[in-house]
Symmetry: C2
Subunit: 316 residues, 2 copies
Amino acid sequence: MTQIPDKSTIHQAAERIRPYVHRTPVHTSEAINKLVHASVYFKCENFQKAGAFKSRGAVNAVFSLSDEEIRHGVCTHSSGNHAAALARAASLRDANAYIVMPENSSRIKIEATRNYGGIITFCAPTLSSREKTLEEVKDRTDAVEIHPYNNYMTIAGQATAAKELIEDIPGTPDFILAPVGGGGLLSGTALAVKYYSSGTKVIGTEPEGANDAFRSFHLKKWVPSENPKTIADGLLTSLGTLTFPIILNDVQSIVTVSEASIVEAMRLIWTRMKIIAEPSSSVPLAALLEKKFSFQNKKIGIILSGGNTDPDKLPW
Amino acid sequence: MTQIPDKSTIHQAAERIRPYVHRTPVHTSEAINKLVHASVYFKCENFQKAGAFKSRGAVNAVFSLSDEEIRHGVCTHSSGNHAAALARAASLRDANAYIVMPENSSRIKIEATRNYGGIITFCAPTLSSREKTLEEVKDRTDAVEIHPYNNYMTIAGQATAAKELIEDIPGTPDFILAPVGGGGLLSGTALAVKYYSSGTKVIGTEPEGANDAFRSFHLKKWVPSENPKTIADGLLTSLGTLTFPIILNDVQSIVTVSEASIVEAMRLIWTRMKIIAEPSSSVPLAALLEKKFSFQNKKIGIILSGGNTDPDKLPW
């Protein structure tokens, strides 16, 4: 697929993935609404298959392949949720999933990838090592690469989370917030909003310590993520060549938040909503805590992107 | 109310509390089903108002009082979830809630009680001090005591959790499991099952370190909880004079579990289901992990009783 997903592509993605992913619930919290003076609707992708929205894009991409295309399997490099999600999606089609993972990936994410049958090749924790190792895997296996975000079928899959959120919020949301790493979720969210709720504004939210999307957006020029440092381990990567133009065109703004606010937001979600949010998925609420834009008394949707966090390594 | 709640009393409780409590969702986990070789349905009372099933009994009891009866407020002694639940229920009727709390109660439960407007009197952490202090509070205020479990209106309120779970499980569950402390939840669960799903067996689950209900049940003679020692801080109390006869009559069995299994169950719920369960609410799953009765390939409902736990004090 070589064009930005249109409305029918996202509609088809929703139909395609329906048998294989959860329609996750939308939760609210009176305590959090009081605290931020707004009505906040959390789309609970922490309850998604494999614990994150990544299952949507992975399933959509994998199930878009013909039997012929998938016969040598699929491959990717990922330190995180995309790895497990792709392994699971491939297993649903009885295909191999070759996953290149940096050797410092979290134990819990390595285990999840392995439990779904992923065939892991470890590499050094640098982008060049990840890419070089993936090329070797591709040469050896002839597997099809499914990029975690720089792939229109991945993006169309991620768009379905915001589509469902729009359907489940009573009335029209004023804002939808999503975290931004490589931009697959944010660009998908922006497309879903454009097609299904054009009166809604989309805000990207990013840690200060990994602010390449913030800088790229405001400079209108792609800048890479260099030495990112944040607890939000899903948001370390640079924007992709496919995700950046969509974000530039269809996202209202990108704001950044401090590490302290991310931890505070995560604690609030845990203690008030009784659900497990990983640090990356707590970044949008952190933006509300920091009052990073004007949202008082508004209706706000948040994509709570995932819940894969190691209970032995909590940030408090 | 002086008689064991009948079916219409439980029906009325469900109607009475409906506007003031959540109809909590039922969650399942493929990973947990595979692990225990059964289909398990978790009734998520951790998402209940004030974070625990206790809101059901407290609201039912408080809203059963006439304006005349409630005019001097309500009172109770509780170290935990009933304290916050009663404070909240009273505030919904603009009534005072006088709560006697042991001075070693958890910080998070004291804060919750205070946030709902509870007027707290601290006492020494012994039953005699709790009872003596409560008598002083009653003499001073003329408030109506709402016992956390030894009160038929409380029991009828707690019964509504199992009633909803029975309605939401597809088909008939073979077993419903609940933790047992004072027995309000377990006796309510047993009554709901008797009236709404008589083919289902009810199993009480209790920590080995606080096994008074287990001993009372099997001896058919009330024995007190003496020096209980368990991480499940909601299950320390003895059975009540009203709850014990119901349990003896309508519960199939009571089983006990080790502290290690409780922690393992709690971790499983956190990491697999991405929800926060407090230790007490992890006891039923611990009984499945320990294979404490024959349930392979059966359909099992679990009352996941609450989610109030201090993220700074985790048992791992």
